[in-house]
């Protein structure tokens, strides 16, 4: 079971500054373990961010995104208390969704 994401969203004017930290190995498929065996590619392929249920960001990622990925975005027309949802899906079909609310800065 994947670890929960850390999501912080603070309002600046009418824009929510959103910072998301996901916990994922993001294996490239090029790294070898201590026994010299190649560690299979394992990475997040899709990330979607919703604002009060409406999709505001739809991302496609490669294995080139760093381990424990960081994602920052800004959502227009946001208010304190607005609900954010973040979902990721990796190449093994593993999936995780977390929610957060926009807070005052």
């Amino acid at each position: 079971m994947a670890e929960p994401m850390k999501i912080r969203a603070t309002l600046q004017g009418d824009v929510a500054d959103v910072r998301i930290l996901m916990l994922h190995p993001m294996e490239t498929g090029a790294r070898k373990d201590s026994r010299g065996d190649i560690v299979p590619r394992h990475f997040i392929q899709n990330v979607a961010v919703t604002h009060n249920g409406k999709t505001v960001l739809d991302a496609q990622w490669s294995q080139g995104i760093s381990r424990n990925p960081f994602l920052g975005l800004r959502i227009k027309g946001a208010k304190v208390g607005d609900k954010l949802g973040v979902t990721w899906l990796d190449n093994k079909g593993e999936k995780r969704t977390d929610e957060a609310t926009v807070s005052a800065s």
């Binding site: 899709n46 979607a48 604002h51 505001v56 496609q60 990622w61 760093s66 994602l71 920052g72 959502i75």
Partner: protein, 156 residues
């Protein structure tokens, strides 16, 4: 997007009859939540030109309205912070390409509908290279680049 694909799926199921229904709903189920589009051709491309082609961005126009915020020198290639700001009107999509990485296309962000033309993330880089931000706006493609020097590569 979810609703749309679902609707199409249901419509098709209706058209092809009950037999296909199970199969089609099965498909819909596996692709729930996110439509899970993934630009396989682009992400598996070994050179930047192929990745651009897969994005439909053949020859993007260089633009000063795109800003790449990243260090000039990154000590650790495993974690290189890259932020892209596009001031181009109607920015729909931002892609990040690390030109000399084994597979250059790092990520594509569809930013239309409600999010600003801004994205920030961290990428891996094997060696010193130009990093490109490719922006799609009103169906046209624009690009900007910045060289990032890498002290220790982070691809392995």
């Amino acid at each position: 997007m979810i609703d749309l694909s679902r609707r199409t799926v249901l419509k098709r199921a209706g058209a092809f009859g009950v037999l296909t229904m199970g199969l089609v709903t099965g498909l819909a189920k596996s692709s729930n939540a996110m439509a899970a589009q993934w630009n396989e051709v682009g992400f598996e491309s070994k050179v930047m030109a192929d990745a651009l082609k897969a994005l439909g961005a053949g020859n993007p126009v260089e633009s000063r309205d795109i800003a790449i915020t990243a260090p000039d020198i990154a000590e650790n290639g495993a974690v290189v912070p890259v932020a892209v700001t596009s001031k181009i009107l109607n920015t729909q999509q931002i892609s990040i390409i690390a030109e000399k990485n084994p597979r250059p296309l790092m990520a594509t962000f569809d930013v239309s509908s409600g999010s600003e033309g801004y994205i920030s993330t961290r990428i891996k880089m094997g060696e010193t290279s130009n990093v490109w931000a490719v922006v799609k706006a009103d169906g046209k493609f624009f690009a900007a680049k910045k060289e990032i020097k890498i002290t220790v590569g982070g691809c392995g």
